[in-house]
């Protein structure tokens, strides 16, 4: 990842902006039932262990190129994205086959409630994080090969 970031720095004009946006595994995702007004939380959806490791590796790569003087951190934030489903069964199928999440939600409502609302519309509410980094003109010490 560090060598890719060094290559990005090469093709960016000095002062250019790198935007790194990805799902935020530092916060859980939520399975929620859509109500006429608002949402009802049905469960918590955790990120898979492999994806957590991948995210930490990405974080380390960004930290490395910042430390090396290729980029300067400008601004970061998070927003919430809703992935819609027409029923609870559709949401469960999605989780079963999705690589990023664990395959089962930790339900916070009982089985009877889930069954009663199984044909309602659901969403997975997931955090998306982003960071804007500025390409610096003169890296203090560029050595991406060290951390490959």
């Amino acid at each position: 990842m560090v060598d890719a970031l060094a290559e990005i720095h090469r093709v960016l004009a000095p002062g250019g902006i790198l935007v790194d946006a990805r799902p935020d595994s530092r916060v859980p995702a939520y399975a929620e039932r859509r109500k006429p007004r608002g949402f009802q939380r049905f469960g918590v959806v955790k990120t898979s262990r492999l994806e957590l490791a991948n995210d930490r590796a990405s974080d380390r790569a960004i930290a490395h190129v910042v430390r090396e003087g290729l980029f300067n951190r400008m601004r970061r934030g998070r927003f919430w994205h809703l992935v819609p489903f027409s029923s609870l069964a559709e949401l469960r199928n999605y989780l079963r086959e999705h690589l990023r999440f664990v395959h089962r939600a930790d339900w916070v409502v009982d089985a009877a409630t889930r069954k009663r609302h199984s044909n309602d519309q659901f969403v997975i509410r997931r955090g998306v994080r982003y960071e804007l980094l500025e390409a610096l003109r003169s890296p203090r010490n560029t050595s991406p090969a060290r951390s490959r």
Partner: protein, 117 residues
């Protein structure tokens, strides 16, 4: 913080990476969160890991030029098809890897890694 909702997409995106963008925020929603149109307006933009061109095509009307690179040839074929269908002229898609970009130094003002790193 805001919430971004789209329509239900059924099976789309579960298995085919190139279609996974249907489950992601729209380009305009993402751009708004990052700071809005000024981020790309009049700029040369590189979308790395562009997939089927979701973001590149979404911001093409604002940017001077958008290049999309993705290692998945099938996704790039989809991106080119989407570009033809939407009539966007200032976007170029190519297969490639982020480690070896085919561009000269200092070609772009903005590089996007949207759900890529």
């Amino acid at each position: 913080m805001s919430s971004v909702a789209t329509n239900s997409v059924g099976d789309v995106g579960r298995h085919v990476p190139a279609l996974a963008s249907a489950l992601r925020p729209s380009a305009h929603d993402e751009l708004r969160e990052w700071g809005g149109p000024p981020l790309v307006r009049g700029k040369r933009v590189l979308d790395l890991g562009c997939g089927d061109g979701r973001f590149a095509l979404g911001v093409a009307q604002l940017a001077t030029r958008v290049d999309g690179i993705d290692p998945d040839a099938e996704a790039i074929a989809d991106a080119k098809r989407n570009a033809r269908r939407t009539g966007v002229r200032n976007v170029r898609f190519a297969t490639g890897s982020a480690q070896h970009l085919p561009h000269p130094d200092a070609t772009f003002e903005v590089v996007i890694l949207s759900w890529t790193l």
